[in-house]
């Protein structure tokens, strides 16, 4: 039997030396009328410079809350975060509000899902980029203006010099998302968190944006955390993937391994649920049941009520196990042979 969880995470020994982002035991809690509930539990992961890591999960998985917690963007009086998130040897979660403001944009940036509403509609996009530059670095307005035009070109906006004077509502969704990326990367942060950046975009535009992100990450050595519900996006953009369910990380490994040999029933279930041309005529696997509400999480395995492989032993609290190079929160993983992307398909 592989050793039980030792409180760290897969790949810790080498990655933490050079990790651009090192998250350890992140917990996030919300105040509700009924008291405090925990939305995210014991999340740990690292991202190396230039690496694109995926966090995949459905609604209620806690993936967005994790991102907001790292950035310190959860509603102030109503939430509580513990654990650590280290960027460039500083723990973001331990910073004072002023230090956090300085770190945002400069050391770590975030882009969001809805490009339609993410930009301030009353200011020109050029001014919004200039504002970002000058908030994070000491440059003259002139220099900032030149930088703004250059970065707009870098993100693929045609006629950048003319477009700086445009307002957000004059741009398409894809263009707006490019502006968002420009704003996020213009101060060259070490880490970029992208929360469902392409979910609201058309598929051809999505492909362009993902390609852009990958290219920029390569060029600037930016570590990217890509949050999505789409395993296809993960497959084509990320090197490693973490699957989240009900506020916990349930699996972590390389993308190819996750897709061909998932070790957690939820990951496998997600893969089976994806409709594909080569599965025409076959019923898709649909995970029964729903995510348990935050107020009544099972004390044992959180996926157990919906899992077809559940046994008595699953009712006990499940630590994150780490069999060589990957991590999985399932006590039965070694006994199960879970279907991956190619189960049931004729070759």
């Amino acid at each position: 039997m592989p050793p039980a969880c030792c409180g760290g995470h897969a790949g810790e020994s080498h990655a933490s030396m050079t990790a651009a982002l090192d998250v350890r035991s992140l917990d996030a809690y919300f105040q509700t009328v009924g008291g405090e509930v925990q939305a995210v539990r014991d999340v740990s992961f690292t991202v190396a410079p230039g690496e694109i890591v995926g966090i995949v999960g459905e609604s209620g998985s806690g993936k967005s809350v994790t991102a907001l917690a790292i950035m310190g963007l959860l509603p102030a009086g109503l939430s509580r975060v513990s654990g650590s998130a280290v960027v460039g040897s500083r723990d973001l979660l331990g910073l004072s509000p002023d230090e956090l403001v300085r770190a945002r944009g400069r050391q770590i940036s975030m882009i969001f899902q809805e490009p339609m509403t993410a930009l301030d509609p009353l200011f020109r996009i050029g001014d919004q980029i200039i504002e970002t530059i000058r908030a994070n670095q000491q440059v003259s307005r002139r220099a900032a203006a030149d930088r703004a035009v250059r970065i707009l070109t870098d993100v693929g906006i045609p006629d950048a010099a003319g477009r700086v004077r445009a307002y957000p509502h004059q741009l398409s969704g894809g263009m707006r998302q490019r502006v968002m990326i420009a704003i996020a990367l213009v101060s060259e942060p070490a880490v970029l968190i992208a929360d469902e950046p392409t979910t609201a975009l058309d598929v051809t535009v999505q492909a362009q944006i993902l390609e852009l992100l990958a290219e920029l990450s390569r060029e600037h050595g930016t570590a990217v955390v890509l949050i999505t519900h789409d395993l296809g996006v993960v497959a084509e953009t990320c090197t490693r993937v973490h699957t989240m369910y009900a506020g916990e990380i349930v699996e972590e490994c390389g993308v190819d391994e996750a897709l061909s040999e998932p070790k957690h029933p939820y990951t496998s279930g997600l893969i089976q649920a994806i409709p594909r041309a080569d599965k025409r005529g076959q019923p898709l696997y649909s995970i029964p049941g729903r995510v348990p509400p935050l107020t009544s999480m099972p004390s044992g395995c959180r996926f157990e009520p919906r899992c077809e492989h559940a046994r008595e032993v699953c009712r006990a609290p499940q630590p994150l196990l780490q069999p060589g190079g990957r991590a999985v929160r399932c006590c039965r993983y070694a006994e199960l042979a879970l279907p991956g992307s190619f189960a049931g398909i004729e070759r």
Binding site: E58, S59, S172, G173, G174, M175, D202, V203, T204, V205, Q206, A207, Q208, L210, E211, H229, D230, L231, G232, V233, V234, A235, E236, T237, V255, D256, E257, L259, S260, G269, L270, I271, Q272, A273, I274, P275, R276, A277, D278, K279, R280, G281, P283, L284, Y285, S286, I287, R290, S341, F342
Partner: protein, 340 residues
Amino acid sequence: MSAVADNGAAAANSVPLLSASELKVDFKLPGAKAPLRAVDGVSFEIGRREIFGLIGESGSGKSTIARAIMQLTPVSSGEVVLGGMRLDRLRGRELRRQRQRVQMVFQDPHDALDPRMTVRQAIEEPLRAGNRGSRADLDDRVTDLLHRVDLDDSYLDRKPHTMSGGQKQRVNIARALALEPELLVCDEAVSSLDVSVRAGIINLLADLQRDLDISVLFISHDLGVVAHLADRIGVLYLGRLAEIAPAGSLLARPRHPYTEALLAAEPEPVPSTRRVSRPPVIAGEMPSAASPPSGCRFRTRCRYVQELCGTQEPPLQRVDRDTLVACHFADKLQLTGRRA
């Protein structure tokens, strides 16, 4: 200009159930002189017991087509024929009577339900409007429909806010089936659902189509979903059809450059070792429908563009027994598909 008739459906099942011919839908824009032509001469057929998928990105006009077929949006020109009857010519009582032959399921399961009505009341409503029998008959029918969408009796007295997205969408489907329509139009019916929930609804739709012998017009921007469900697929670009083909051949061997681009852009959830090489990602964005490019609308983004493409608009033409394509060079191009 007239397009060659799409009788792929005809080939399969004699008389098509639904036939749209040269559909055009214009919208008057405030402050603009020329109307916006959202749909510009679309023709296709849906056979009985067939699932027809309509794929397009935003701005392609797919939702407008759905609404035009349902007569929720006035058709500016062209015909919509349902089982021999011209829907777009009907008015008043006659229209209402024919309406029940086509029912629609919308994208947002939440908005489609009255928050103050229970599930029973929601499903019952169309039946009561049509005066379909006694109280007991009604109850039986409602329970029957509920079971058909895999919900048990305990849902009858529940209200929408106690249900998940997937459950609400099942109720919407049950309600749409209440009047025993011949055609079910699903407009992005699974797009706002989680992946695992989506799978359940897709399975349900496939089962229903088989068991109830209905036809389905399935509209979506998600290639994977449409490819899984549909028998034949139409690809829309900027208000016109680029290609109509059976699902299998559309994916394995697309005949229109836009279809190739869509297939190339769609991310595949398979390990890198199993991924086939694909053409580079397409550049640019869909132009505005208010000022479409001259000639072939796709020419501004097409890898294979030639001079002819700018001067002449390619008609939708039969290139194969089951395939229609709107491209001047359909016969010459060798395009890359998926799972060749």
